[in-house]
Amino acid sequence: MDDRRRTRPAAHELTRYEALFAARTRGMKSSAMREMMALTERPDVISLAGGLPDTSTFAPELYAKLMAQVAAEGTARALQYGPTEGMAATVDCIVEVMAQEDTLVDPSEVIVTTGGQQVIDLVCKTLIDPGDVIVAEAPTYPGAVPTFSAYQADVEQIEMDGDGMPIDALESTLDRLHEQGRRPKFIYTIPNFQNPGGVTMSLARRRRLVEVARERELLVLEDNPYGLLRYDGEALPTLYSLDAQAAGRGGSSDLVIYLGTFSKILSPGLRLGWAVAPRPVLEKLNLGKQGADLCSSPVTQMFVAAYFGERDAHGGAAWIDYVQRLRDLYRTRRDVMFDALAEHFGEHAGWTRPQGGLFIWATLDPRIDTTDLLALARNQGVAFVPGRAAYVDGHNGASSMRLNFAGVPEADIREGIRRIGKAMREQLGLLGSLSGGGAPAGAGKRAQSAGGEGAAATPELNAEDASPTREPQPDAGDSTHLADVVALPRRDEAPSARRRRDR
């Protein structure tokens, strides 16, 4: 035996490790999302689970050309550390992207981050002490849940309707918190084509949210990865721009921290996002980022800068043409999914009708737990994100699911929805038999959202729903004590048996 090898800790030593772990690790559960992403790597599974854009539409020749350009113009810089706040040329691109959404920003208030996800992490790192309150939408971005948990935040989720977060519900939550002497550190919202809900916050609510934030001096984290991916309807102003107007301080918002990303309009593989924040917050974010990773990759920052320099045949910005191509592609795919849902889910479910973004949120019979449904669906070679992943308590949202239409070819969307629909109908049939009724009880009825927290699991997101209106169902509020979110197999290794010869 090679005695230089580390020997395995004896079991009784494990308790020593346990003592070493920070208290916050208790909130760090393996996320269903992460496990789910593993599933998407299996070639035989149609994954409607990921948050993936379609990167196959990016021309390989252009990628090669841009990388060559980066090499030619700045190998040494690309291979060197960069400034923590990001490279100036990349920040210029960010300003350009935000201008497309009529949001003017001061380049000195931008920090380039390693994906939008890092903004969520840095904002928590900067603002959250254990037990601090974050107000978020219900459902909320599943990828934010583990971050909030890791910082031991106390998350108050506000059920959305078809117009996003109802601000009156937000205000009553704020009032209730105020009575307890608590004040949220920030309000987390995805106003455009919300992930996972697929709904968009109305203009009236945006205005009101900014007013509320100003009245109460609350920070808002505006997460806007999909704003430019609008397929129908009129673009709405960002919260950042509304607050900047209200602040009247030369265009800068003083209560909104804006989160943007290149992931959905260009590539998630670049791992580049950004934050625009009031200067004092920005400084702390910068310090936090120094501790996290010093800087985001100069290689990909320079790639972005080179890419934004590309012109089309008419001298226009080529990146805008690409975003337009993505819009056309995703619009078609979304419509294919709408049709497939109508055909295969039909009256047994409701779903949102997003005007943009990547996701549709579907809500089934309140007695179906989509975590279990996923186990069935997985056997049939299809994956989605169970609704619980979008709730911090891991229990609400049990009858809903997030479906990605953007990253999947049309034929796979049809087939994937068909398979989920089949699994769902099997469960409904069984429920019908077990409940003693003929027709599946509860099917075709809308789950009622009782409003208060801990009540109904099913959000009323289907306001624009084309499917038949469902009746309120009194038993929808039952919260069942079911097993926690399913953990799905991790694909640590190749899909088929791979021989690994360890020394």
Binding site: M1, D2, R5, T7, R8, P9, A10, A11, H12, L14, Y17, E18, F21, T25, R26, K29, S30, E35, R367, I368, D369, D372, L373, A375, L376, Q427, G429, L430, L431, S433, L434, S435, G436, D475, D478, T480, H481, L482, A483, D484, V485, V486, A487, L488, P489, R490, D492, E493, A494, P495, S496, A497, R498, R499, R500, R501, D502, R503
Partner: protein, 320 residues
């Protein structure tokens, strides 16, 4: 210590417990390497059998949990290939993995197991089995536990506190298996007794010290907490009156023998609050071998280090 062998460690696979199995497999591989064996890790997939044929190992160490690894599928294949493998044979695997069959066998043998009834999905459509629910509810009372008959982990295990919750819980459990077990709910302490075959042939197997799993937070000892350090506190040896410990170990050995296990198994029990009765819940023929798994902890408490544990399990391949 046996002579150095060429050992294929079978791990992963497609079961819902894949992630855990990969971790168990990695631990076992390290242990076997430190023992001087030649180790080949195989992630069980479409090419498992051809790869085994190409490799021609001296033995297969099964570290696959859940379906295929634990239900006799892989064991049957290894018999067909004529390859020695660790742990129980196909029949014992089937008896243990099928919680329903195991419970019938235990009931017949007078081993205490919580009251139960079974339901098959097709019998609901074809035999009108839904009508049996009322008598089942009357017999077992609420709350009750609904679990898939097969499936090694806590996945799919549901509680129903009333008749209204039962259909949803059952449909949930049916997502994991076409047969489900409805079981009387017992409140109490979760115990596990691992059993190892004696190093010498002909001697009775040994029951290792009892491990108690104490959930750190409210509620249920779930899939995640079972495998994450820090989510559950393990106490080993469990703090129990000596007679309770002896009884738990005796029950575990009796179940091990009843179900025909070989090499190693872990028997999960419940010490009922109030009555102080011990009940056998289920038997796992491929117990977890991760850092937080119960078997390595129990072995450690018995003075059996990880390598010795791995070696003893490996030797079960050659003593069948």
């Amino acid at each position: 210590m046996t002579a150095a062998k060429r050992v294929a460690v079978l791990k992963g696979g497609r079961s819902l417990e894949r992630a855990v199995s990969l971790r168990s497999g990695a631990q076992v591989q390290e242990g076997l390497q430190r023992l001087g064996h030649e180790v080949i890790g195989l992630d069980a997939g479409e090419r498992l059998v051809p790869e085994l044929l190409e490799l021609g190992p001296d033995a297969a160490f099964i570290a696959m949990h859940g379906r295929e690894g634990e239900d006799g599928t892989v064991q049957g294949l290894l018999e067909a290939l004529g390859l020695p493998y660790t742990g129980s044979g196909p029949a014992a695997c089937m008896r243990c993995t099928d919680k329903l069959l195991a419970k019938y066998l235990m009931r017949e043998a007078g081993i205490p197991t919580p009251g139960f009834h079974a339901l098959r999905e097709d019998s609901i459509k074809e035999l009108g089995a839904a009508a049996a629910l009322a008598p089942v509810e009357a017999d077992l009372g609420f709350p009750l536990v609904v679990k898939p008959a097969r499936g090694g982990s806590a996945l799919g295990v549901k509680f129903a506190s009333s008749g209204d919750e039962l259909p949803g819980a059952m449909v949930g459990a049916f997502s994991y298996d076409s047969t489900i077990v409805l079981e009387r709910f017992l409140d109490g302490r979760d115990l596990a007794v691992s059993v190892l075959d004696a190093p010498a042939a002909g001697e009775r197997a040994t029951a290792l010290p009892v491990v108690e799993a104490v959930p750190r937070e409210e509620g249920f000892y779930d899939y995640e907490s079972r495998y994450e350090i820090g989510m559950t506190t393990f106490v080993c040896p469990a703090e129990l009156p000596p007679e309770t410990t002896a009884r738990a170990q005796e029950l575990a050995l009796a179940v091990y023998e009843l179900l025909g296990c070989h090499g190693v198994a872990r028997v999960d029990l419940m010490l009922e609050q109030g009555s102080g009765e011990l009940w056998v819940l289920e038997t796992n023929v491929v117990p977890g071998m991760t850092e937080t798994s119960l078997l390595p902890q129990a072995a450690d408490a018995a003075g059996i280090g990880f390598e010795e544990l791995v070696e003893r399990i490996l030797s079960s391949a050659f003593t069948r």
